[in-house]
């Protein structure tokens, strides 16, 4: 089928302003949105710029705004983006971050926030000879959160991030949850003060945009609520 692909393009090296360009492409309904972009780059305009690598939703490279929603281009199919012949699919970079070129955004802030939450296992007791034991129930508490591919779709879909660029955002907070709720972790006292702050957990108003944006269908709001409860408990205990 024929579809129109409308892309917000911007190269700060040469353009004063972003502009829209539209390409007509022959697509199979089962093609991914990424394959449309690849087709344009490979056969129509090689200067179209976007990130991609794995092509199947695991590397987190190609989160972008497609038909107004934050999605992974490789994980959404044409048939789910158009109703019929000649329909238009729009592509924009993720909102709020500075644009490097076309659909490529600068993710340095996003990763600074990730680094701020001490995103690693903190242990104080010396490790045993063998693995630290963890029951399947304890593992189940963090499994959903470990699926995160750090694509940024959630953080850039969050109204709190739009309002306050300093807000840590759902992705970083989810990482804090993933380690704090890991039964092997002993670093809650180091990590919680970072997230229990003005720019942290309390800017999350459980609006659920993050859940809707997450391509891995992680129940982010649920885990952030658990982290809030934990932070309150920790303060009460102190």
């Amino acid at each position: 089928m024929k579809v129109k692909v409308k892309i917000k393009r911007f190269n700060p090296e040469t353009d004063a302003e972003p502009h829209w360009e539209t390409y007509e492409v022959d697509a199979d309904p089962m093609d991914s949105a990424l394959s449309l972009l690849l087709h344009i780059k490979w056969h129509i305009d090689g200067s179209l710029t976007f990130r991609k690598s794995c092509g199947h939703g695991i590397c987190g490279s190609d989160a972008m705004k497609i038909n107004g929603e934050n999605r992974l281009a490789c994980s959404v199919l044409v048939k789910d983006l158009v109703k019929g012949e000649g329909d238009t699919i729009t592509f924009e970079p993720l909102p709020t971050a500075p644009v490097i070129k076309d659909l490529v955004i600068d993710q340095s802030r996003f990763f600074e926030k990730y680094r701020a939450v001490k995103p690693w296992l903190i242990t104080r007791t010396p490790p045993p000879e063998r693995e630290r034991l963890q029951s399947p129930e304890e593992f189940a508490l963090i499994e959903d959160a470990t699926k995160c591919i750090m694509c940024g779709a959630c953080t850039h879909a969050c109204p709190s991030t739009w309002a306050d660029p300093e807000y840590l955002g759902p992705a970083a907070l989810l990482k804090a949850y993933r380690y704090t709720f890991d039964s092997r972790d002993e670093g809650a006292d180091e990590r919680l003060p970072v997230v229990d702050s003005r720019e942290g957990l309390w800017k999350c108003y459980t609006i659920f945009n993050c859940n809707e944006a997450c391509p891995k269908e992680i129940d982010i709001s649920r885990w952030l609520s658990a982290l809030k409860r934990r932070a309150v408990m920790e303060v009460a205990a102190r």
């Binding site: 590397c59 490279s61 034991l133 593992f139």
Partner: protein, 579 residues
């Protein structure tokens, strides 16, 4: 700019991060440069598991693991390196666990293990549970945890910097790399005491592949261009179960959990070919069997695929143990593996060959003991060789972590002991790269990269995949000759300095052409069938003449030289391979 570090690691997948972490913990000043952000590395796509004889589910021994690996390699793997890998695997996995990798757990709270192709109990008796896993996102769990640890340890990262050349002194010591910064289009020199390549595989040589767009074999091609050899390039693994037409991988873990392969008649054909382990035979064998079924007209509806049937495995196991696979099937094929069989066909998956190294990751120039000072290689781009002619599933991740760790430790220790100085940089170390990029950007008329690349991938798929013979290989070489000329003239439309991915596509095409050439020549040269290298005109394994590793050198535009290296045999004498 000139950046200066003790150790520069090129590549941030599992192997590069492992080397970085251990070198850093050993006190070295470590920088990692990577063309992708580290978390985008293809290690994140590894699904099924990482093998180690932990014995958490049933009795297991590292020696059984070693035997399976040797047999799986069709006796081409070096047994000293294999012994090290299998002995080191359990403790390395325990260290990963201590770093925080979220492994799936069994009821006792230990790391859960499952079955995988070619892994057996007691030297081939029956399948054994050896594959440690994090559901079907094992690589993702390991990659993210390693990155978290590197961040904690303040490893210096240069993200979206693409290495394009090695810097060697006239005496043949490696003292740095030249890299292109994607954001700015600048060419930088990294001056180092040690360089470690960890650039991954080259699956994009083939039309159908489970590999990422970034898997273009850069490190191997750069080494070849530096006059150093590549080892065993004829051995390319095709994984039996790629999603039909897409090549996206369905982990062997799916068969480990009970999945079976069916032909058009509904027959479980692997019972015929491998009566003991059946669907859990090694990949070379299963891929060849699928091709045979298809050739003999028993593909589904006479077409070029078969079914992977998981229906009897049940919803519960599919949703908890293979959730990503289930999602791929639903998203990309619109089928539910709980209710329908999955159409699959072999897909290019893994490079057994690569940059020859010893088991501390040091690159070898010409056979054992001939080290290239200052240069290391680890991971899929390296050839230790533990995989020989065919890699077993779960053994790549083990290879990454075991040999990544060893290389990291070795670099840090060598620096400590020898207090080595940096070799002075030669004049104009970035000249070759500058000229190459200026040449590409200067062209105004010619074909786009994608057209030439797709012709390359097509001929490699048609002529140099699961089955080869003299005729197909010669055809491929003829095609490659023309493709090489066309590749030299491709045109990029993007002339900007900022984030010019099209320019890098053109450079990578050059790498793919070089690698295709050495894969094909090595395949033509080896007149026997062994592991993944299946020559229809030489269907038998020939230990008398070919129980040796191939080394290929490029000496000029169109001139190549072969050399050989003996296989190290310690305990297991070559035997006929039966499953």
């Amino acid at each position: 700019m000139i950046f200066s570090h003790d150790v520069v690691i090129v590549g941030a997948g599992g192997s590069g991060l492992m080397a970085a972490l251990y070198a850093k913990e050993g006190g070295a000043d470590v920088a990692v440069i990577s063309k992708l952000h580290p978390l985008r590395s293809h290690t994140g796509a590894a699904q099924g598991g990482i093998g180690a004889a932990l014995g958490n589910e049933e009795e297991d021994h590292w020696l059984w693991h070693a035997f399976d690996t040797v047999k799986g390699s069709d006796y081409l793997g070096d047994q000293d390196a294999i012994e090290i890998m299998c002995q080191d695997a359990p403790r390395t996995i325990i260290e990963l666990e201590h770093y925080g990798v979220p492994f799936s757990r069994n009821k006792e709270g230990k790391i859960a293990q499952r079955r995988f192709g070619g892994h057996t109990r007691n030297f081939g008796e029956a399948p054994v549970r050896r594959a440690c896993h994090a559901a079907d996102r094992t690589g993702h769990a390991i990659l993210h945890t390693l990155y978290d640890q590197c961040v904690k340890n303040q490893v210096r990262f240069y993200d979206e910097f693409q290495a394009l050349d090695l810097i060697m002194t006239p005496e043949g010591v490696c003292c740095g790399v030249v890299a292109y910064e994607l954001l700015t289009g600048e060419i930088h020199v990294f001056h180092a005491k040690m360089v470690c390549l960890a650039t991954g595989g080259y699956g994009r040589v083939y039309k159908t592949t489970s590999n990422a767009h970034a898997s273009t074999g850069d490190g191997m091609a750069i080494v070849l261009r530096s006059g150093l050899p590549l080892e065993d390039m004829e051995f390319v693994q095709f994984h039996p179960t790629g999603l039909y037409r897409l090549g996206i991988l369905v982990t062997e873990g799916a068969r480990g959990e009970g999945g079976i392969l069916l032909n058009d008649k509904g027959e479980r054909f692997m019972e015929r070919y491998a009566p003991t382990v059946k669907d859990l035979a090694p990949r070379d064998l299963v891929s060849q069997c699928i091709y045979k079924e298809i050739r003999e007209g028993r593909g589904i509806n006479g077409k070029d695929y078969v079914y992977l049937d998981l229906r009897h495995v049940g919803r519960e196991v599919i949703e908890t143990k293979l959730p990503e696979i289930a999602t791929f099937c639903r998203t990309y094929l619109g089928i539910d593996p709980v209710k329908e069989p999955i159409p699959v066909a072999p897909t290019c998956h893994y490079a057994m060959g690569g940059i020859p190294t010893n088991y501390d990751g040091q690159v070898e120039r010409a056979g054992r003991g001939s080290i290239v000072p200052g240069l290391y290689a680890v991971g899929e781009c390296a050839c230790v060789s533990v995989h020989g002619a065919n890699r077993l599933g779960t053994n790549s991740l083990v290879d990454l972590v075991v040999f990544g760790r060893r290389a990291g430790i070795h670099m840090a220790e060598t620096l400590r002991k020898e207090g080595r100085k940096k070799e002075p940089l030669p004049d104009n170390p970035d000249r070759r790269v500058r000229e190459m990029l200026e040449d590409i950007l200067g062209r105004t008329r010619g074909e786009p990269v994608a057209v030439v690349r797709s012709d390359l991938q097509q001929t490699m798929m048609d002529n140099v995949s699961v089955f080869r013979n003299e005729e197909t290989l010669t055809t491929a070489l003829d095609d490659l000759k023309q493709i090489r000329e066309r590749a030299k003239r491709v045109v990029v439309r993007d002339k900007s300095k900022r984030f010019n991915t099209e320019l890098m596509d053109a450079v990578e095409l050059g790498f793919l052409v070089d690698l295709s050439e050495v894969i094909t020549r090595s395949a033509l040269n080896r007149t026997e069938s062994r592991g993944a290298h299946s020559r229809e005109d030489y269907p038998k394994r020939d230990d008398e003449n070919w129980l040796k590793h191939t080394l290929i050198y490029r000496e000029g535009e169109d001139s190549y030289r072969f050399d050989y290296k003996p296989v190290t045999i310690t305990r297991f004498q070559p035997k006929e391979r039966k499953y």
